[in-house]
Amino acid sequence: MLEYKKDGWKAAIALGPTLLLLSVFTFYPIINAVLMAFKQNYVFLGGNYDGIGFGNFVTVLTDPKFLDALKNTSIMVFISVPLTIVISLLLAVALNSVKKFRGFFQTVFFLPYVTNTIALGLVFNVVFHKDYGLFNSIFGLNMVDWLGAGTTYWRAMFVLMVYTIWNGLAFKIIVLLAGLQSIDKQYYQAASVDGASRKRVFGRITVPLLSPMILYVTITSFIGAFKVYTSVIALFGKGSGQAGAYGPDNMLITVVGYIYEKLWASGTPFGVAAAASIILFIIILIITLIQMIVSKKRVHY
């Protein structure tokens, strides 16, 4: 064990390289982003701004495009995350009870996690294609446009949800499965001696003992979902230089998409992008704090 007074220099050597890298690539950009956010009308090229204030935040919060982005992101977060967690929990329990082929099923469920997002986007574009898509032919739908220019908001959102839920299952299943396997078998044996029903075992043993894992998965999923961006581009992006990378009329733009758009918009309004990223940070912070408070009552370590 290192002691501060005696081994301070050893700790400094050990931490030095990491701290240096973090300073250059994390701390400095964060501080710079905060500064940029408060420089009114700050533009990157030339670095001009009109004093310090909340102007960029006002611009962001009154921009209908940002409000659209916030609405889309919220729908994604509050529908897809709970659904993914419930489904992955059920699948993890099911996988845990399967003896044969468990490895095979684990691999199958983990595949989306190791597959390239853009490749998955292409697959979904084929599955939901208007003319020859698998989805339309399975459900006997006549040329319903899901991802193309003729889609509607909820149709596009539906595909995005399916994609996000399916893509998000992999990691959660693995984490929850690891958690399930670490639960002491004695609890289940005791329950079986007492003649407890499966439902009761699940509700009183599995879920409470898995709660730290569920909390971890919930928090990371919420943070991840608030930062949704690549999946929208993978499903709706049509290549560089074209308008409508976030679906027709940019209807599915997300908060991160908004930030990225502002970074390189004409006039490089980095100040606005920085303000939007700070607003996103605050939202994520609040949601995570709420989860931590709730978890104090519900999570059993």
């Binding site: 533009v43 990157f44 090229l45 030339g46 670095g47 001009n48 611009t59 009154t62 921009d63 209908p64 495009k65 208007k130 040329m143 446009d145 193309g148 220019a149 003729g150 509607t152 049509k238 290549g239 560089s240 230089g241 074209q242 308008a243 409508g244 027709p248 009329d249 940019n250 390189w264 918009a265 004409s266 006039g267 490089t268």
Partner: protein, 488 residues
């Protein structure tokens, strides 16, 4: 005291160096062209272009330049990712003081560079000892030249960029199909106006629906006949490639207004006008009647795939993209004609001009600037702008006399194999110059490309997603925000 003087001298030196980088500079560097021309000192310059046809065509031309100026070494910096990445890379380079000497870009890119004092005034070179005479300037297509002006609010006539690779919009049509249609109904002609387009497309739809054109072109297995496409609702006789151009050209031809530039850093939107509302409703009605489409109607970013699949027989697209509309083998022949105008407003025969310009950036030495100017002047000679146009295919010469050079005249009348489409497009561009059409481009300002993106989204939302015209126009104004609206 001694130290004080040393500090003073160093400070002076620093200010002198800082003074070199900016839009406002002394004229001395313009006079350096003579020295650079005759010097044996090696001068390195970097020319940034998007990778593709331009970067492929330039090395040969630069080799010719080096025969005349062996001391000027040109590094061609081909950036992948199109103009978007050219702009982003250049912005980052300007910030880290590593900007190239020359860069291609759209006027709104230059408006941004200008706002950061990163461009030099070409006017000093133009009126310098190795500049252009008035006759030479008059030889440039005037509307191309105008894109280089209006950067400096105090001297709007001063030029900051010169036209380099220009293109325009043309009507590409299925020649085989039109010949067959004319035999069945001789009133089916290539439409010159929007009014004519309406009647012609009505007649085309009647023929297609009746299956009378199904046998004209042999289709491959798995492809659908025009009548089948019509029956499933995916046939439109006419399609516009670019939603943004479709909208902007409409505003010009109808006199409805689009943007108004205030200065380099500011401009207002004025496109919510009765004329434009009427125009949008007209095109929406044409779309509902299955006569008019845009590329997005076919779930695509260009209409060329639909054109080759016989889902449309006419498409307005860039002269630089004509080649994409030619089907493999001998499925059918294409031809190119002038894009339609509004017969009701014959004075507004407006045709959008596209393509980029070239500028010299300020993070360079005076000798590099002079060398860059010599390169520009060399490449913009009539025979070289013609050579560049022929090598790239769809780009057009920027000087009128270039059309009369021997090589280009031959290219127009007797094109080499594989360049026929581009040659036809170039002939149409020449017609635009000679037949009373007016090339236009709306003056750029910082943020003007954001307006272009928004009107592209607006036009698509109305034509493809059935959004209400007035509501979507209001939304566009809200999205662009107050900064784009003239204070009441």
């Amino acid at each position: 005291m001694k130290k004080f003087f040393i500090v003073l001298i160093m400070l002076f030196g620093l200010f002198a160096l800082v003074g070199c980088g900016g839009n406002v500079i002394d004229k001395e560097f313009a006079d350096l062209t003579e020295e650079v021309k005759t010097s044996s000192e090696e001068i390195k310059i970097k020319f940034r272009v998007p990778s593709g046809v331009i970067s492929a065509a330039l090395p040969n031309l630069i080799a010719d330049f080096n025969v005349v100026y062996p001391n000027i070494k040109v590094e061609l910096d081909a950036v992948s990712g199109g103009y978007k990445m050219v702009r982003q890379t250049t912005i980052l380079d300007i910030q880290s003081t590593k900007a190239p000497t020359l860069v291609l870009g759209y006027p709104d890119h230059f408006a941004e560079y200008f706002s950061a004092d990163a461009m030099i005034k070409l006017q000093d070179f133009i009126s310098g000892p190795n500049g252009y005479t008035q006759t030479e300037l008059d030889d440039f297509v005037q509307s191309y030249l105008d894109e280089g002006k209006n950067y400096d609010d105090e001297k709007p006539e001063d030029m900051y960029s010169l036209p380099f690779n220009k293109s325009t919009e043309v009507l590409i049509y299925n020649k085989t199909m039109f010949e067959a249609m004319k035999l069945k109904d001789d009133s089916i002609v290539i439409p010159k106006t929007w009014e004519e387009l309406k009647t012609v497309t009505e007649k085309i739809n009647t023929l297609v629906q009746a299956g009378e054109l199904d046998e004209v072109i042999t289709i491959a297995e798995g492809e659908k006949k025009p009548s089948e496409l019509y029956a499933e609702g995916t046939f439109y006789p006419f399609a516009y490639d670019s939603a943004a151009n479709g909208f902007i050209t409409m505003t010009r031809q109808r006199g409805g207004g689009y943007t108004e530039k205030v200065n380099n850093g500011k401009g207002y939107i004025v496109f919510n006008s009765p004329e434009n509302v009427a125009g949008l409703k007209y095109f929406k009605a044409e779309n509902d009647a299955k006569r008019y489409a845009i590329a997005e109607t076919f779930n695509d970013i260009y209409a060329s795939n639909a054109f080759m699949a016989l889902k449309t027989f006419m498409t307005v697209g860039s002269s630089a993209g004509v080649g994409h509309n030619i089907p493999e083998g001998d499925k059918f022949e294409i031809a190119v004609a002038e894009a339609p105008y509004l017969a009701a407003k014959p004075g507004n025969k407006y045709i959008i001009q596209q393509g980029t310009n070239v500028a010299i950036l300020a993070q360079s030495t005076n000798k590099q600037r002079a060398a860059a100017w010599l390169l520009l002047k060399f490449l913009l000679q009539p025979e070289y702008t013609a050579k560049f146009a022929m090598a790239t295919g769809g780009y057009l010469p920027v000087r009128k006399s270039a059309y009369e050079t021997d090589d280009y005249a031959e290219y127009l009348t007797n094109p080499p194999i594989g360049k026929e489409g581009f040659s036809m497009a170039a002939n149409v561009a020449l017609n635009y110059l000679n037949k009373g059409y007016q090339f236009f481009v709306d003056p750029a300002f910082v943020g003007s490309s954001g307006v272009r993106d928004e009107v592209a989204a607006l036009f698509t939302a109305i034509i493809v997603n059935d959004k209400d015209v007035e509501e979507r126009l209001t939304k566009a104004y809200q999205t662009l925000g107050k900064a784009y609206q003239r204070p009441e």
